[in-house]
């Protein structure tokens, strides 16, 4: 039981990180039909921005801010203007391939220009074990959970309680209608890219103390985010959150109780089952097909 609680908490922490990545992923999909295959690399990269800033002498909090700002600039604005905008008019597929190439570009650039070795990354809080009932839970997991919850709650407040957020949702649901009603659609689309950049930067800062900062981190993280988004529902922010948490918990529990060799397989099996039985995802709406 004690180890179950331990696994559950660390699973929740992992899941919360997956959820942040998956939310950004679904936001991009909803507003601009961008399936970002480089999303994993987007999470890998900001950690290196932070490390570079710290090497230059900045304290951790400042480096984290610099990392987030660079992420917004490069993974938000630059990504949209240079990669997405020229490709979008050709449809989904060329853009998919382009983001695959981008993921390769980011991965190799990090390897060649920074380091191919895993880099230690400062934790948010000192690692102390806390005793909850009989279980030993690390403060790191709790801190990750806390930051992720705050992020998700503020995102929800932004999307549902502000004029800006409602305009963004209108853009996602029906861009044409939103434009007719006077929503600045293009700006809203840009904002979702910025939001995504902030989300991946936060995820990066949360995940890197656990996995170390390494150029290959994106592969597993990106895959996890895709699966989380599909399992939860591609067109729902809360679906992505649910999917991320299911995936993180499942990952940790199945590795401990069923088979660690096939750890990577369980999320995929869940993915296939969900797609077969409920292709719109657990919380998703069915999208209309047009002729």
């Amino acid at each position: 039981m004690a180890s179950f609680i331990q696994l559950l908490v660390s699973g929740l922490a992992t899941g919360a990180i997956y959820a942040l990545i998956a939310v950004g992923f679904t936001l991009l999909w909803q507003t601009s039909q961008t399936i970002n295959f480089a999303q994993g690399e987007f999470v890998m990269l900001p950690a290196f921005f932070v490390l570079a800033a710290m090497n230059a002498g900045a304290p951790f909090w400042l480096a984290a801010l610099i990392g987030i700002s660079l992420s917004v600039l490069i993974l938000g604005i630059l990504f949209k203007v240079v990669v997405v905008d020229p490709m979008l008019k050709y449809g989904v597929l060329p853009l998919v391939i382009s983001t695959i190439a981008l993921s390769l570009l980011l991965k190799e650039s990090t390897k060649d220009f920074y380091s191919s070795q895993a880099q230690p990354f400062p934790a948010l809080v000192p690692a102390v074990d806390v005793h909850v009932f009989d279980a030993v839970v690390s403060t790191q997991s709790l801190a990750v959970l806390a930051v992720a919850i705050v992020t998700v709650v503020s995102l929800n407040l932004l999307l549902n309680r502000t004029r800006l957020g409602r305009q963004m949702q209108a853009t996602a649901q029906n861009a044409t209608l939103a434009r007719i009603l006077g929503v600045p659609v293009r700006r809203m689309v840009l904002y979702t890219f910025l939001l995504n950049a902030v989300l991946v930067a936060i995820a990066s800062i949360l995940v890197s103390p656990i996995y170390l900062a390494k150029f290959t981190n994106g592969e597993t993280l990106g895959m996890a985010a895709f699966i989380a988004a599909i399992v939860g529902g591609f067109n729902q922010v809360r679906g992505a959150i649910l999917g991320g948490i299911i995936l993180g918990v499942l990952d940790n529990l199945s590795a401990a109780y069923i088979s660690s060799q096939y750890r990577g397989a369980f999320p995929l099996i869940v993915l296939i089952i969900v797609i077969l039985l409920r292709p719109q995802g657990l919380l998703g709406r069915i999208e209309e097909r047009s002729v």
């Binding site: 399936i35 020229p86 391939i97 797609i275």
Partner: protein
């Protein structure tokens, strides 16, 4: 095919036959790789370019084919039998995996096939009793066919080229048949195809299964070509690359895979002068190519020819719907 196209194909064919006599062993290895991967890319082009389904599983099928041959030939099975077995096995697996293709389309299918690729990778890595795990399988023998020993690099290249020729002729013939027309109808407008009485579900499955079996056949040649196979060769990377090759060449264009694979095989070699940075340059090059010609290199050539022709005749170029 136009006369211009016919001349180009003839030149390409002569080059393909003559090339190994002028190349060093590594060059012959590269063009053999080209021939093998083109077979897999033709299969993917069938799934993607004609039936309109994004598959990220082609690399896994190449892997299944490669392992089939690497396991069967040392057990005493003649190469030809193992080769056919690889094709049939991948056809069957493609058929079974294709079932999700009926329920989901496009990007969802991309993820299902991505998941399949990972599962295949995990099985290849973990089931050591069968696949020797991460240590891989070395020394798959190159076959003797009717007294023709293909152990030499040049002989084996001709075996690959011959197989490529036969399989592409078969595909060409199939695309001209009612089946091929049905595949095209699936891509252009599945709902209209359905309302015209086409059994879209069966044709989609068929396209996917045939495409997969071509992947398996490519794998069957890949194992004796490189003589060392391990699970990592068949992870996402290969599937992504194959998809890239088809798109860069021009998906839905019969000759697209030939050009796309050629670029993908040669470009990294040419970019070696950039030393460690060649993968970066490669990725950047792909993004630039896609930004300027999303219909692939062949699409670009086609478009340029149209422009030139219309400039000569003084007619305005067609802007859309003029694809071949």
């Amino acid at each position: 095919m136009t006369r211009f196209g016919g001349i180009l194909v003839a030149i390409a064919a002569v080059t393909a036959v003559a090339a190994p006599f002028f190349l060093k062993p590594f060059g012959i290895f590269l063009i053999s790789t080209w021939a093998v991967l083109t077979i897999a890319a033709i299969g993917l082009n069938l799934t993607l370019g004609y039936a309109g389904q994004i598959s990220l599983a082609q690399g896994a099928f190449v892997g299944i084919g490669a392992y089939t041959v690497a396991l069967l030939t040392p057990a005493g099975m003649p190469f030809f039998v193992a080769f056919m077995a690889a094709g049939l096995l991948c056809f069957a697996i493609g058929w079974i995996l294709g079932y999700p293709a009926l329920r989901v389309q496009h990007h969802y299918l991309a993820f299902v096939t991505l998941a399949f690729t990972t599962l295949v990778f995990l099985v290849l890595r973990n089931e050591e009793w069968l696949t020797n795990g991460i240590y891989g399988i070395t020394g798959t023998p190159r076959p003797n066919l009717l007294g023709w020993k293909t152990s030499g690099a040049r002989d084996f290249y001709f075996l690959c080229l011959g197989t490529l020729t036969m399989l592409s002729l078969a595909t060409w013939w199939m695309l001209r048949s009612p089946w091929g027309r049905a595949f095209l109808a699936l891509r252009e407008n599945p709902i209209r195809a359905l309302s015209l009485g086409l059994d879209t579900r069966r044709y989609t499955l068929m396209a996917f299964a045939i495409g997969s079996s071509l992947g398996g056949l490519a794998g069957a040649l890949y194992a004796p070509l490189v003589q060392f196979i391990e699970p990592n060769s068949f992870s996402f990377g290969l599937s992504f690359n194959l998809l890239l090759m088809v798109i860069v060449g021009g998906s839905g264009n019969f000759f697209g895979p030939f050009v796309g694979v050629l670029i993908a095989v040669l470009l990294p070699e040419w970019l070696r002068i950039t030393q460690g940075y060649y993968l970066i340059a490669y990725a950047a090059a792909v993004m630039v190519i896609l930004a300027f010609c999303p219909t692939g290199v062949l699409g670009l050539i086609e478009r340029t020819r149209m422009l030139v022709r219309h400039k000569v005749t003084g007619m305005p170029p067609l802007t859309s719907g003029a694809g071949p």
